[in-house]
């Protein structure tokens, strides 16, 4: 969308002023002057590191001594041989599916609930949204105390039942998902509300006149027309969940029994804890990057509606 928009305007002004007119050259120089801070930041802090991570993944690169020369494909085989690699991939995917399904369903449900404006719904909307203002780290620390068997509000209950929020692998997973749903539900509700606003009210009017039931209207009008929003939110949620780090780093520290190590946590562990091997961490980073690009491309394709132009 943005591409055609840009080339349209640029093309028009190019045609207006001839190929080498001074006005056009002035435009280009001024444009570059204004955009140069952006260009410097993008080049130095994005493009260069992106190339560097590929090079690092092909080199022996210990944390303390730096580049020790080309060693491909050792780093990649080391990643695959890592005893946590397979488990962390499985766990990350499991967490992603759970978090995405819950957040999309809940985000849509909450959006439908508070869609019309009234004072009470405004209050509801604000209370669902407030957790989104918190940082993920703050939210994780907050739930670290809430879930605590010593200081949490359910401490006495937990002592009686001999069960804790983070004690078993499944409990830790579900407790973390609850934290994430609490923190992000309002955020996805807001995105859904924006999508719902884009559906013309005449369609609902027509459905009502035709005597469609609520469910039929939801199924035949709301859902299909919300498709772009659903695609956007799903892609955002999948991407965010696949890259989960803070919530597990703070809340479960990967435990119990290393059952909640995510891929990004594994990158961190490889680079800065124990192994101190930036080369292997870079290799896993590259694998994660490629996986993410592929997964997003597949999702875009799945959400793409062949009927639409």
């Amino acid at each position: 969308m943005s591409v055609s928009m840009m080339s349209g305007r640029a093309g028009r002004s190019r045609r207006r002023s001839g190929p080498a007119s001074p006005a056009r050259r002035g435009q280009a120089v001024k444009g570059w002057l204004y955009v140069s801070p952006t260009a410097v930041f993008v080049a130095v802090l994005f493009v260069v590191p992106l190339l560097l991570v590929v090079r690092m993944s092909l080199s022996r690169w210990p944390l303390l001594t730096g580049d020790q020369g080309f060693n491909a494909p050792d780093n990649y085989t080391k990643v695959l041989d890592n005893r946590f690699f397979a488990d962390s991939v499985v766990f990350t995917v499991k967490y992603t599916v759970l978090a995405t399904v819950l957040l999309i369903a809940l985000g849509l449900g909450l959006a439908l609930l508070v869609q019309e404006s009234s004072r009470w719904k405004g209050l509801l909307r604000a209370s669902f949204l407030i957790p989104s203002a918190l940082g993920l780290a703050s939210a994780s620390l907050l739930f670290y105390v809430l879930y605590s068997p010593i200081a949490g509000p359910a401490a006495d209950l937990m002592a009686n039942f001999g069960w804790t929020f983070l004690g078993s692998p499944n409990a830790a997973l579900f407790s973390t998902v609850f934290l994430i749903v609490w923190r992000f539900a309002g955020f996805y509700m807001l995105l859904m509300l924006v999508g719902l606003q884009g559906i013309p009210s005449e369609l609902y009017e027509a459905a009502r006149i035709d005597g469609a039931s609520r469910w039929q209207t939801f199924r035949r009008i709301t859902l299909p027309l919300l498709r772009p929003t659903l695609a956007l939110t799903t892609i955002m949620c999948v991407t965010g969940s696949l890259l989960a780090f803070e919530q597990f780093y703070i809340l479960t520290k990967g435990g119990p029994d290393n059952s909640t190590i995510t891929v990004v946590q594994l990158i961190y562990i490889m680079a800065f804890q124990g192994q101190n091997d930036l080369g292997v961490a870079a290799a896993l980073s590259v694998i994660a990057l490629i996986a993410l690009v592929v997964i997003n491309a597949v999702q875009l394709r799945a959400f793409h509606n062949p009927d639409e132009k």
């Binding site: 570059w32 802090l45 995105l191």
Partner: protein
């Protein structure tokens, strides 16, 4: 949008359209037609019946709101209430905040670090995206599309993928273990959203406005400051708000890029607090830390809610 008939303050309930906890997917569609006569005096029986019918709805939505607010309220209250194993063992008071104040380099140091990183990020993000958005919206120059798309591509790359090489790169530039380095990295990650936001803010202004200024002999720089800046102010507030919330709360960049404990930002300091005395967690001080971390975000959010929502409306998340 809502076409509520004005009702006496006591009885807004009866005109509420949906009568149950089920989600209401039809704005305006299944809404019962508002009564034709002015509903100033309603029969008390209707009112009671309406209240009874809608009770499940109130209970359901009310408890949802409680679920979302409870963790915040509970943390704030218990940070000042007595608790064994903390600095606040009997009576209410600020003992936990005192623990926090005396922790290692002291809360003020960490607050100062966080404030420095956040403000630097906000100022840099505003300056860069103001100029960048202006250039993308109003000038044609070679490499324009490719630069814009590359900026948006930052969104597609995992944070962690970037931090490992950034650690090495900042080391080369002598910016590793420095708060400025953290602010630079956070600014870069803000650029896709803020550049997009500022670009559409400029594009929403009619071209005639700045063309008139240029014809009057203004330079493009003067046109930007005198004519366009007031018009893009709402966009700038949104960009600044998101930059602040992100920078203030960021955990991973300082975790990886900062080594010295007196250079840590607040989220890391509070997180480290948990292992303070031989692994014994001071939950009270952690609660106090969460309150200090969350308070500016919630206050800013409530004050600037409108601008926060605009960030979503803009479609900037569709990059």
């Amino acid at each position: 949008m809502s076409t509520h008939v004005p009702t006496p303050a006591g009885a807004p309930v009866a005109t509420e359209p949906d009568a149950g906890p089920s989600a209401h997917p039809l704005p305006g569609a299944a809404r019962p037609a508002p009564p034709r006569r002015r509903p100033v005096r309603r029969a008390p029986t209707t009112r009671v019946a309406g209240l009874v019918l809608r009770t499940p709805y109130w209970i359901f939505t009310g408890s949802l709101a409680v679920i979302f607010l409870f963790p915040l309220v509970w943390t704030a209250v218990s940070s000042v209430s007595p608790q064994a194993g903390t600095n606040q063992t009997d009576g209410w008071g600020v003992g936990n905040y005192r623990t926090l104040a005396d922790y290692q380099a002291g809360i003020w140091q960490y607050l100062a670090n966080s404030a420095f990183v956040s403000l630097t990020t906000v100022v840099l993000t505003l300056a860069i995206s103001l100029l960048g958005g202006y250039a993308f919206a109003r000038f044609s120059f070679p490499g324009r599309n490719i630069l814009f798309l590359t900026t948006l591509a930052i969104l597609m790359v995992p944070y962690a993928t970037m931090l490992i090489p950034l650690y090495v790169l900042l080391n080369e530039l002598n910016l590793q273990n420095s708060l400025i380095g953290v602010a630079l990295v956070l600014t870069m990650f803000q650029l896709p959203f803020s550049t997009f936001m500022m670009r559409i803010s400029f594009e929403a202004i009619p071209r005639e406005l700045d063309e008139a200024a240029l014809v009057d002999g203004c330079s493009s720089w003067a046109a930007l400051w005198r004519v366009l800046l007031p018009a893009v102010k709402p966009g700038l507030i949104t960009v600044g708000l998101f930059a602040f919330l992100t920078a203030w709360n960021d955990f991973m960049a300082p975790l990886i890029l900062i080594n010295d404990s007196d250079k840590l930002t607040l989220p890391l300091a509070v997180s480290n607090l948990r292992g303070q005395v031989q692994g014994v967690v001071d939950y009270g001080a952690t609660e106090a830390g969460v309150v200090v971390l969350a308070l500016p975000c919630i206050v800013l959010f409530l004050l600037l809610q409108r601008h926060y929502v605009r960030g979503f409306m803009s479609g900037a998340f569709k990059g």
